[in-house]
């Protein structure tokens, strides 16, 4: 998408986000706005614009399974029922061992699920895509840290299934890379929202006869938040440029760590009010911690990356100038 078209696309998405509340409303709008078509034509714009806006608005949709599915080479409507890896994990949510399928994953948003969900399962000999009847799975609506996300835990042992496709080697990793970029953008959007809340508070809150934003200790915390956000954002853009799986993991880790840094600084600046449910900050903090869990945490991705670097003693190439 070119500049103007991209702007229009972003504006209509923003409008849909601001007028709706909760995941289901947004899901309806995504269809109407042609987001699914945009995902195929220009995945970079579709993913970066939507997910950053979701973060900035504190909104949610079921677009994440669609992104993973697109990366796996699948198309809607199958992707709507695609099961995500469980928190803290990035491997396929299913495993097939001697013909028996075990499932442990997450479904995107809570809704009356009917019929089947789609589970990618490691078979020991590659990955397969399987249809599973919802009736054969245990579904648990996750309250946890962020009930408003409407996540559902999906569990099943020895579940009946029908395999409808084999995934080519490395395809799952490619899907995960794309999903990591999406979650990374949402973390950046969430971080920008937290920073804006804290910035506004720093300008409005008066102590010692001056706005607290005039104190250097406060200013430097907020500056550090912006530095963390811009570093992560640049890494995400760079990962789109070079398209490598490694870069997407680096960017997701930077976005996750950056969001936690931002949350820490912003909450300290917001002080008492940011500790209450009367202020929206807590929602973003909750989102941050949950989003960090999706497709590998900042910490686990960093450790894996470091291990790989120490094993190969070779830094991966960076996108050329």
């Amino acid at each position: 998408m070119e500049g103007t078209e991209r702007e229009l696309f972003a504006r209509s998405l923003r409008h849909a986000l601001e007028s709706g509340r909760g995941g289901d409303v947004l899901d309806g709008s995504l269809g109407g706005l042609g987001w699914h078509e945009a995902l195929v034509e220009d995945p970079r714009t579709a993913v970066s614009v939507l997910f950053e806006l979701q973060g900035a608005a504190g909104a949610h949709s079921s677009a994440l399974p669609a992104v993973l599915g697109y990366g796996l080479g699948m198309a809607p409507p199958a992707t709507a029922g695609l099961v995500l890896p469980r928190p803290g994990h990035a491997g396929p949510p299913g495993t097939v061992d001697r013909g028996r399928l075990t499932v442990h994953g997450l479904a995107g948003t809570v809704r009356e699920r009917e019929g089947t969900v789609v589970v990618v399962a490691g078979t020991g000999d590659g990955d397969a895509v399987a249809d599973v009847s919802v009736d054969d799975l245990d579904l648990r609506k996750i309250d946890g840290l962020a009930p408003h996300l409407g996540l559902v835990e999906v569990v099943g042992t020895d579940v009946p299934y029908t395999v409808w496709d084999e995934l080519p080697d490395g395809r799952w990793e490619r899907g995960v890379a794309l999903a990591r970029l999406a979650v990374g953008h949402q973390l950046v959007g969430t971080s920008r929202r937290m920073l804006e809340l804290a910035r506004r508070h720093a300008l409005e809150r008066i102590q010692f006869d001056r706005p607290i934003g005039s104190f250097q200790a406060v200013r430097h915390r907020l500056a550090d938040a912006l530095i963390a956000i811009e570093g992560a954002d640049a890494a995400l853009q760079s990962a789109w440029d070079d398209g490598s799986i490694e870069s997407a993991a680096v960017a997701k880790a930077l976005a996750g760590r950056g969001a936690r840094t931002t949350a820490r600084h912003c909450q300290q600046v917001l002080a008492g009010i940011g500790f209450t449910t009367e202020h929206p900050f807590h929602c973003s903090l909750r989102d941050t911690l949950v989003l960090d869990q999706l497709f590998g945490t900042a910490n686990s991705l960093t450790r894996e990356f470091g291990r790989r670097l120490l094993a190969t003693r070779q830094l991966p190439p960076l996108p050329p100038l």
């Binding site: 200013r219 500056a223 811009e230 760590r257 470091g306």
Partner: protein
């Protein structure tokens, strides 16, 4: 010339001339050796044309995108043919001359800097004005067609090697702050200039005190107009945080790579390694976007303070990792390779101090990017 073509022809040329371009003095070089070698590399790359790309034709350049300059510095740095700090001073000083010197003066002088025929320095900081640059007191008094300069500068990098100096002086009243500053282009062999090098912690007299005692500077050596010195300084600082910073990022990537090769097994914590590599990635990504903004003709401003904080943070993180992975060598090794790691580790401590401290960068970010208003 387009970047891709430039890249491949330059790489071929560098491969072919590696032996001529590579310093014979190895890792334990003195600053004298480094400066002599830098002049050689600049001369050879200038004569072959590479150093002239990305600079306007009116100052002896061959035109083309500034990306070509960024790549040249990246290639020389990552091949370990130049030390990025002293190499990249050109990136800061030449644009100032191009933007503010009389065109005739720039046309004569800039080629001397690019070709390595001359070394220049930048006289900004004073004993009483570090972060608070606008309070500088080095006085220039106008007398007919000459300025008379009296005062002192400090932390002036390479002053003892320099042929010229871009000097900030006070020409307004004592309390005229940033309004009463004028930039001058001064010959360092002028009578009345005394340079006293300062021995640094990392073992090189990299910067000096410079004393001016009634030094005469012709008025046609004024950069910009009288009282425009603050604009000259503000114009120069974003350059320091763009192309020069890209070169430094290339250097950090190369040194981190060397550390991965050199560190004994199990001397490094995987999480620490991963995190430092991620910082270098983020820096490179951010700086890459900045290079492309420069190439698109965008005016750089306070947002480059983010680049500057990222590079300082990454540099100290890389060398903190060196202290972990190569601790015994750094602490006790007397071979040239250990001495180099030690020198670089010590130098990295200055990364959050020079070119605007980490605190000043955060002040700029808070005021200009976050719009937090005045500090008082």
């Amino acid at each position: 010339m387009e970047l891709d073509e430039f890249r491949s022809s330059l790489d071929t040329w560098l491969d072919r001339h590696d032996e001529t371009l590579r310093a014979t003095h190895g890792a334990g070089a003195t600053l004298d050796d480094q400066l002599a070698h830098l002049s050689l590399v600049k001369r050879l790359t200038y004569e072959a044309g590479w150093m002239r790309f990305g600079w306007p034709e009116r100052v002896g350049g061959l035109g083309g995108s500034p990306l070509l300059r960024a790549y040249l510095g990246e290639a020389l740095t990552s091949r370990d043919l130049v030390e990025p700090g002293i190499y990249s001073m050109t990136e800061v000083l030449a644009p100032t001359m191009i933007d503010f010197a009389r065109p005739e003066l720039a046309a004569v002088m800039v080629p001397r800097l690019l070709s390595g025929a001359e070394t220049w320095c930048q006289g900004f900081s004073e004993p009483g004005t570090g972060s608070n640059l606008a309070a500088l007191t080095c006085r220039a008094t106008r007398d007919g067609d000459a300025w008379h300069v009296t005062g002192q500068k400090v932390w002036t990098s390479l002053a003892q090697y320099a042929d010229r100096c871009v000097l900030l002086t006070r020409t307004g009243s004592v309390d005229s702050a940033h309004r009463g500053i004028t930039a001058l282009f001064v010959d360092m062999d002028s009578p009345g200039i005394v340079v006293r090098p300062i021995e640094t912690m990392h073992g090189a007299p990299e910067f000096s005190e410079v004393f001016f005692d009634d030094v005469v500077v012709r008025v046609d050596r004024t950069l910009g107009h009288e009282g425009q010195g603050w604009a000259v300084a503000m114009d120069l600082l974003p350059y320091e945080r763009s192309t020069a910073l890209w070169h430094r990022a290339a250097y950090l990537y190369a040194r981190l790579q060397s550390l991965l090769h050199a560190a004994p097994p199990d001397s490094l914590d995987p999480v620490a390694v991963g995190e430092v590599a991620q910082l270098v990635f983020a820096l490179r990504a951010r700086s890459r976007a900045t290079q492309h903004r420069v190439a698109a003709g965008e005016h750089l401003g306070p947002e480059t303070s983010i680049d500057k904080v990222l590079v300082a943070t990454a540099e100290q993180a890389v060398f903190d990792l060196v202290a972990d992975g190569l601790g015994p060598d750094v602490a006790m090794g007397d071979d040239p390779t250990s001495a180099r790691w030690r020198r670089e580790l010590l130098y990295s401590r200055a990364a959050t101090i020079y070119g605007g401290t980490a605190e000043i960068q955060r002040n700029i970010i808070a005021r200009r990017l976050l719009d937090l208003g005045s500090e008082r």
